[in-house]
């Protein structure tokens, strides 16, 4: 049963490469059964854009603008779209566990974790709805997106909840792909996102607490820490993969 008990890691901020590498290192530890299922809640220092595994970096990120603003760029190991992780303006989560603890069907698993985010919003008095494939919307606007992978029997899903929103800054670093521009111009793309603070003026700490409470609801859990082995492994993965231009500029 211990294998089913969730380790909840305390909130911390890291650079982009380390944030992505930590998910991989924890997934390895879970795969080797030296760690149990784990949930992380984290931020990005400095701000960063994470792009999906298969995205063409030049198509979706204004690299020059990122350099000007000191915004890092990292390619995730998971698919999905580009996300601007503006420091202090969003909350990122990861759920890492053996695959058999989550629905076998990929879309159902998105729905399951999406439901936890909908519950977190409910705790804050905000009505959200899961929108397939991988989004949560409030009043038709995206407030949360997520991305999932399954490797070596381990389920990893990471995603974000927008707390606050600087649209001009966000859409100065993100490029909207050409085919999406045809349907709606950049201003309309910016109008299609919202944040917790636009819906309700609550402190960031309330949001963090609501997320944690929604994620652990009806689950056995304990507050834990990363092990030294996980940290050491993450540092290697960060250097070799996520901070490596060969990886970042792969597509």
């Amino acid at each position: 049963m211990l294998r089913k008990r969730w380790r909840i890691l305390r909130y911390e901020q890291n650079d982009a490469a380390m944030n992505m590498a930590l998910d991989d290192a924890i997934a390895e530890a879970v795969a080797y059964r030296v760690a149990g299922p784990t949930m992380r809640f984290y931020g990005w220092e400095p701000s960063a854009v994470s792009i999906g595994r298969f995205q063409d970096i030049e198509e979706v990120v204004d690299l020059e603008q990122c350099r000007k603003l000191g915004v890092e760029v990292v390619r995730r190991s998971t698919g999905g779209g580009a996300v601007f992780h503006d420091q202090g303006k969003e909350l990122t989560y990861s759920v890492i566990c053996p695959e058999d603890m989550m629905p076998k069907d990929i879309n159902e698993a998105y729905r399951e974790v999406g439901g936890w985010i909908v519950n977190a919003l409910k705790f804050l008095g905000i009505e959200g709805a899961f929108e397939p494939i991988n989004d949560v919307l409030v009043n038709g606007k995206k407030i949360s997106g997520s991305s999932q992978s399954r490797r070596k029997g381990i389920f990893v899903q990471h995603g974000t909840l927008l707390y606050d929103l600087d649209r001009a800054r966000m859409f100065s670093v993100l490029r909207v792909p050409r085919d999406k521009m045809e349907a709606h111009d950049l201003d309309r793309a910016a109008e299609r996102v919202t944040s917790v603070r636009e819906q309700k003026k609550v402190p960031w700490e309330y949001v963090a607490a609501a997320m944690a409470n929604a994620f652990i609801m009806n689950r056995e859990w304990y507050a834990g820490d990363l092990t030294q082995d996980e940290l050491a492994r993450a540092e290697v993965i960060a250097r070799m993969r996520y901070a490596n231009d060969e990886w970042t500029f792969e597509r």
């Binding site: 298969f54 995205q55 998971t78 698919g79 999905g80 792909p177 999406k180």
Partner: protein
């Protein structure tokens, strides 16, 4: 694509030969490493010239347990039809 996903096909020609082919976009593909296998397959089999590229892609995905999310074989077949050097 349904679900608002984007998928793009980029290719490189040398003379009238396609020498490389790459898919990009905000879609999902499980397992992720399988996308390169699919790209290699489409190039090796010259699927743009195939009368039934969609069926060939379906078979390839099924045999290897690969699963795209956000696009399907019919979408790829459609993109391949437009491939010209």
């Amino acid at each position: 694509m349904p679900g608002g996903k984007t998928v793009a096909l980029k290719y490189e020609c040398q003379g009238d030969q396609v020498v490389s082919l790459r898919l990009s976009g905000d879609f999902f593909f499980h397992p992720e490493e399988g996308l390169e296998q699919l790209e290699e397959f489409m190039l090796r089999e010259r699927l743009w010239a195939s009368p039934d590229a969609e069926a060939a892609i379906v078979r390839f995905l099924e045999e290897r347990g690969l699963r795209p999310i956000g696009f399907g074989p019919a979408d790829l077949a459609y993109l391949l039809r437009g491939l010209r050097c």
